[in-house]
């Protein structure tokens, strides 16, 4: 299993260059830029790295066809791919913060994504594309300059419908915040769907977005993990059921606003929720703690690998260079 790094939403192109080159030196497979409402354009964030790196893959995560027409997505993606000489990738998603910021809605997500994947996969320098979808049209598109190795196209898939679509049309899928038991079950089903679609399981990439908070300072790590906890599966019950009992899940759901307040206020104070529950949550759905937690994290990563992940995307937060150094020096060698 290979390691990808997801940069935080504040990374500038210059920071992405420095962090990406560091990740490349440590042998990481790829770097993802985050696409948030306030962030820079996620393709731009990677432009310098694309130009100046030599091996590492790079791409934006997640870009929704509801916020960007597939033709524009294609031109952006293929342009980044050309700058990186065939090392680009993208995670297509249903739409998150950017879609909210433009007052858009997650309507017909599967249909939209199907058409988007068909357009991205169908584009060719040799053949003119005429695509008449229910939602998207493309007439006379032929990017003659798109001659590098095509980019890898993932779909962000946490649910059966999106998984099935990924196995039909994408190069891979990326789940988010799946603990090992969920991952095992999901990958088993994905492999069955790949076979049903007449595709090899060996050529299909499966990754999982996973939060990395481990730091030298265990207390700082815990503060960061608590602050970000709202984003872990957006507190969806299915993500927490494998390790919380029914009462704990109910309590968590009843206090969603308190978790959200902590995130929005940038604080680790989650009001009205017992510390024991918060600690149990962060310890199970992310990597958190001091350096003494790295071995346990490696064991979890090995369990993800055994479940069938081809790579895992570790989301770093504050002090990303320190996080990449730890991952590069301790985690990547242990997974070789």
């Amino acid at each position: 299993m290979e390691i990808d790094i997801i940069l935080n939403e504040f990374a500038s192109p210059q920071e992405a260059l420095e962090l990406g080159l560091m990740a490349e030196r440590y042998g990481a497979r790829g770097v993802w830029s985050s696409n948030y409402g306030w962030s820079r354009d996620p393709f731009f964030t990677l432009s310098l790295l694309a130009h100046q790196s030599s091996r590492i893959r790079l791409g934006p995560m997640a870009v929704s066809p509801a916020e960007l027409h597939p033709l524009k997505m294609a031109n952006l993606l293929f342009s980044l791919n050309e700058l990186s000489r065939g090392r680009a990738m993208i995670m297509v998603g249903g739409g998150g913060a950017v879609l909210q910021a433009i007052g858009g809605k997650r309507e017909r997500m599967i249909r939209r994504t199907r058409e988007c994947l068909e357009i991205l996969k169908g584009a060719s320098p040799d053949k003119m594309m005429n695509y008449n979808g229910e939602i998207y049209k493309v007439w006379g598109y032929q990017p003659k300059w798109y001659t590098d190795t095509p980019p890898l196209i993932y779909f962000g898939s946490n649910h059966p419908q999106s998984r099935k679509l990924s196995t039909e049309l994408a190069d891979g899928l990326i789940t988010s915040d799946f603990v090992v038991p969920l991952m095992k079950d999901f990958i088993g089903k994905a492999h069955a769907e790949l076979q049903a679609a007449g595709r090899s399981t060996h050529d299909f990439r499966i990754s999982n977005f996973w939060a990395w908070h481990i730091k030298k300072d265990a207390a700082a790590s815990m503060r960061e993990a608590r602050r970000e906890l709202m984003l872990r599966g957006w507190l969806g019950e299915q993500y927490f059921r494998p390790f919380l009992d029914a009462d704990e899940v109910q309590l968590m759901r009843a206090h969603e606003q308190d978790f959200l307040n902590a995130f929005l206020r940038g604080t680790d104070v989650i009001e009205n929720v017992p510390d024991e529950l918060v600690t149990k949550m962060v310890r199970n759905i992310s990597f958190v703690g001091g350096l003494d937690q790295i071995d346990a994290a490696i064991e979890t990563l090995k369990a993800f690998a055994a479940a069938g992940l081809t790579e895992i995307a570790l989301r770093v937060h504050d002090d990303p260079a320190d996080a990449i150094r730890l991952i590069g020096e301790r985690v990547i060698p242990a997974l070789r």
């Binding site: 731009f44 432009s47 310098l48 130009h51 027409h69 524009k72 342009s79």
Partner: protein
């Protein structure tokens, strides 16, 4: 005494980021004001293509043209523009305009052009690192946008306008205006329309730079220049009669309209042959909608551009085609000094 006229160049849509870098740096050395990348349906992304030049250059302005709020939501435009502007430390440009070939490729309708462009420009102008933007337009919404990283000098936002409604809107909201495929007649009319609307809006023309797109087919060899102009002629005002009437009769305009397909065939097939259209008619369109000829004709073109300047144009954006490096050298050595 009239002021100087800034000269920009518009690059072909088929250039790679590496070629744009080389041409942009060449243009910078010659004192050209800005490099524009073309946004065509099957071209590279016009923002991303500028990244290497944004980093390597130090003075020249740069940006894409034409970006429409049909193909991209204004928030997406704002993010891409802000990101480019950061890379070049506050030297980004953009031309926002109405529908283009990109929209046609996406199979989009052309409704509410003026309102779309106005709302888009208002969103781009209101984007700030210091203030949260909440914009509730009739067409576009933006909620909670505050790019705290966008701290460079703001990009220059141009509005592409030619006809009265767009000109009236541009006079109310634009920081910069660009006209397309101008003739002296249309430039004079446009300036008069702008002046009326500037006055109504309490603004002054002197505060709003006015640019004009002019096709540039001046080469060492006149025959090659004319062949290039003929091959590209379909794109000159898209042969809309509105552009042709100042120098063609109504009957000739109708003839061009009826034979539009022949012009587009020449463009698509990359040939100067425009089947069924008399050479004399083609020559008149070429002579009126752009600068075409050999290097020996340069004085004539300088006079033409000075005339535009006298009519109110403070900048000109020359649309280059084949052998852009030679064009930039000629423009840099002869045109730029003459228009200072």
């Amino acid at each position: 005494m009239l002021g100087s006229m800034r000269v920009d160049v518009i690059l072909s849509p088929d250039l790679s980021p590496g070629e744009i870098l080389e041409l942009g740096l060449l243009a910078e050395r010659y004192g050209i004001g800005a490099v524009w990348t073309s946004n065509y349906p099957s071209s590279r992304d016009p923002f991303i293509s500028l990244c290497p030049l944004a980093l390597a250059s130090s003075r020249i302005r740069l940006g894409p043209l034409v970006i429409t709020p049909y193909e991209l939501h204004p928030l997406k435009i704002a993010k891409a523009l802000g990101s480019l502007n950061e890379l070049c430390h506050g030297r980004a440009n953009i031309l926002i305009g109405g529908p283009t070939g990109v929209n046609a490729t996406m199979g989009m309708g052309l409704t509410r052009m003026v309102g779309r462009v106005r709302e888009c420009v208002e969103i781009l102008q209101a984007t700030s690192a210091e203030r949260v933007l909440n914009y509730n337009g009739r067409i576009f919404q933006v909620w909670g946008y505050k790019p705290v990283w966008a701290t460079d000098a703001p990009p220059a936002i141009y509005v592409g306008a030619n006809k009265p409604q767009m000109l009236a809107m541009a006079a109310r909201v634009a920081d910069n205006i660009m006209l397309g495929d101008i003739t002296p007649h249309h430039l004079g009319t446009a300036v008069a329309t702008l002046d009326r609307n500037f006055a109504a809006a309490g603004r002054r023309r002197a505060d709003v730079p006015l640019s004009g797109l002019v096709a540039w087919h001046v080469k060492a060899d006149r025959q090659t220049a004319v062949a290039e102009a003929r091959q590209q002629l379909a794109l000159r005002g898209m042969l809309d009669s509105w552009y042709l009437r100042p120098f063609l009769s109504e009957e000739e305009c109708q003839f061009v309209e009826a034979n539009r397909g022949a012009f587009f065939s020449a463009y698509k097939n990359n040939t100067p042959e425009i089947a069924g259209v008399p050479d004399a008619l083609i020559d008149r369109i070429i002579d009126n909608l752009g600068c075409t000829g050999s290097a020996d004709d340069i004085d004539r073109h300088i006079e033409r551009l000075r005339h535009f300047r006298d009519l109110g144009l403070s900048q000109v954006a020359l649309k280059l085609h084949n052998d852009s490096a030679a064009a930039i050298r000629l423009i840099g050595e002869q045109l730029v000094p003459a228009l200072q």
